[in-house]
Assembly symmetry: C2
Amino acid sequence: MTLSQVLNRIDGDLDAATDRLFDLLRIPSISTDPAYNDDCVKTAEWIAKDLTGIGFDASVRTTPGHPMVVAHGGSDGPHVLFYGHYDVQPVDPLNLWNRDPFDPVIEDTPNGKVIRARGSSDDKGQLMTFIEACRAIVAETGALPCKITIFLEGEEESGSPSLVPFLQENAKELSADIALICDTGLFDYDTPAITTMLRGMTGQEVTIHGPDMDLHSGRYGGPAINPIRVLSKILGNLHDDNGRITVPDFYDGVPELTDELRAQWDGLGFDGDAFLASVGLSVPAGEQDRTILEQAWSRPTAEVNGITGGYTGDGFKTVLPAQATAKVSFRLVGEQDPHKIQENFQNWVRAQIPADCRVEFHDHGAGPASVMATTNPAFEQARLALSDEWPNPAAFIGAGGSIPVAGYFKTILDMDSMLVGFALDDDAIHSPNEKYDLRSFHKGIRSWARILDAMT
Amino acid sequence: MTLSQVLNRIDGDLDAATDRLFDLLRIPSISTDPAYNDDCVKTAEWIAKDLTGIGFDASVRTTPGHPMVVAHGGSDGPHVLFYGHYDVQPVDPLNLWNRDPFDPVIEDTPNGKVIRARGSSDDKGQLMTFIEACRAIVAETGALPCKITIFLEGEEESGSPSLVPFLQENAKELSADIALICDTGLFDYDTPAITTMLRGMTGQEVTIHGPDMDLHSGRYGGPAINPIRVLSKILGNLHDDNGRITVPDFYDGVPELTDELRAQWDGLGFDGDAFLASVGLSVPAGEQDRTILEQAWSRPTAEVNGITGGYTGDGFKTVLPAQATAKVSFRLVGEQDPHKIQENFQNWVRAQIPADCRVEFHDHGAGPASVMATTNPAFEQARLALSDEWPNPAAFIGAGGSIPVAGYFKTILDMDSMLVGFALDDDAIHSPNEKYDLRSFHKGIRSWARILDAMT
């Protein structure tokens, strides 16, 4: 294929590509809230139809949860599997959005044009960079440059309950020479990155039950135990004064950085103070004896993602509630075993429950950390291709986020994954006013065209 | 007046009295939620109209918050002021109600007929016992037996912000020989009580601010501080392992029981285990070196009445939230100073806030504890009158709940208060499925007729 012609076509087609992305962003595919089940199906069907138009053999595949999209194209050369997810995070608190999260628009900002909408960066905008690259290549050359399978799920933001069974049932169809995953970010504005280290995650909901009904805090306050008091005490014990997590055996399987990787990371010139300052903070909250980059990339965490109990409306209600609930997640690294950690955490909580309270746990998924095998030649091919597109050469980096699918591709399909993405730290994914730089979208499409060209 | 005729009329008029109470219960006068402001006004107007019908000179008096109802009647004899509140608690969680909280009904239960509705016990049913007694006396004798002022507020469940200024501005009009307050309970099913010891209360909302927006717990988890973690740690420190509150100087002004009162309370045969068992508990949660009765009546408490932060909807969201909030209240006894305790608590919290977090406090009112002057002859008159109506003789008791107005009557109007009420521990006030025994309503009306007869 003639790369320059493909890149020219991508430049000329950007407005149309943006319109297509807007159509996709308008469908509120919030996977964690059952109210949006139909919208998740609509989204899968929209993408399958679009892929069919490019020449893929695309289908929407039902699961016990939200459907998968599987599409096959091309015939010769290496076989790559592209992964992304079409589901998005909830939008609350809605009042903090400056516009309808599902009414995408191009906004001018001091840093250039951005696409403002839920899912623009995580992950609809990113997955479309690959699809648009394929569209341009087919339009310019009449065919895909190699054998390409596109595999998209709709449950990434809700623990991917259907992913493992689907991979197991369709292992043969989904196995390729390498997986390309587009759900990560640039290292910085001018430096593209290939993420080679990902934290795993396990999440669960903890509910403490005390009295068998809500009580008047005057009549019963004192003698009657308050579940919020029990829950607060337990969560307050989760970290010690040095930011270390106190759950027994939590650090089993946590590796130290290799000298090589540590040197590479030191060379990145990462500005930890600026990283914190960008979100209004100044004091690193993780393990006090670790750098900010380690705290974010290579050290495990425990976070309370949500807590609720008693009266939380306007004004004041003197209630002593019957229960209190917290959503707790752990980010995992190295060889940490998600299931072992769930078990240790639950036992640790149970040991702190008063005799006449009881605790209930609700599982919200578990995925191990991933460390990529950068020995695969595709990594060097992609690194050079990205370095041609962006101002600075591409870097191999770690990432704090969790993309369990990379681990499953390895364990279930014995397939290496290469993570390339174009998001920025200020994209506010999972937050109000999520955005994706138009530049990320445009150069992202061009990056995939270059990578596919380099691999074939 | 001829008491027996009045009591007969009360018995014969019970159905009509119940219908009148139902009309009052149908108005959702939730004072803490601005959405119900108009309903609070409607409720005040309904009562003023009813009192006018009995012959009172009744008026609805506006305040910066919800209106007061003030009504004057009678001419000769001692001057009593009756206090109650027409506002009610919020109804959430609504799904735990077995019917519409504002569609009152008589239900048959193993313990007899009950009136099921929000406010049936706290405090609409209770205040109507006095009004119905006045109605029966006027109907039977043509006049009230003494000078009676009825004073009802609509902000008792939301910190009574307008109460103190209103008492100060109308001190002359509202001053009487004694205040009768109907917002307390029987000691047990067959034992009426005059409450002579009430805990005070101060409440406030605490909001911890961390990052300046919600963050992705993968990207920022570790380096970025989580406000829920900060809030949990602080709330977890509020009590030590012996159930004592750790805020500095918190126990200043907390008195020991007199030997006399301790002996009287020991004589009540209070079953602490049954008290806890009635709400599904078995282990006293207060100060470990105090009896359950002391923990409930004569010792101060700290309770978290509500907590919220991060994602609390269905499913899971890996968010690291920008803020977390708790509603915290303290029950006060003896000479504890509510304002001093607020100040000490706020300083104690501030001292635990990390350098790059900030805390915001929102005041939700403060009222001191009350200890009644039982030397006033009205106490003995009422004790005997109640003993005539109920199976067991009346007892002087304490109460865990807070009725700040009693303290204000003393400090602002130099007026003693006598607290007589007919609620039961299982009325589920402040909880789903609140009820008021029809027996409490009926014998409550009869009790007031007897008390007014004994006092005049």
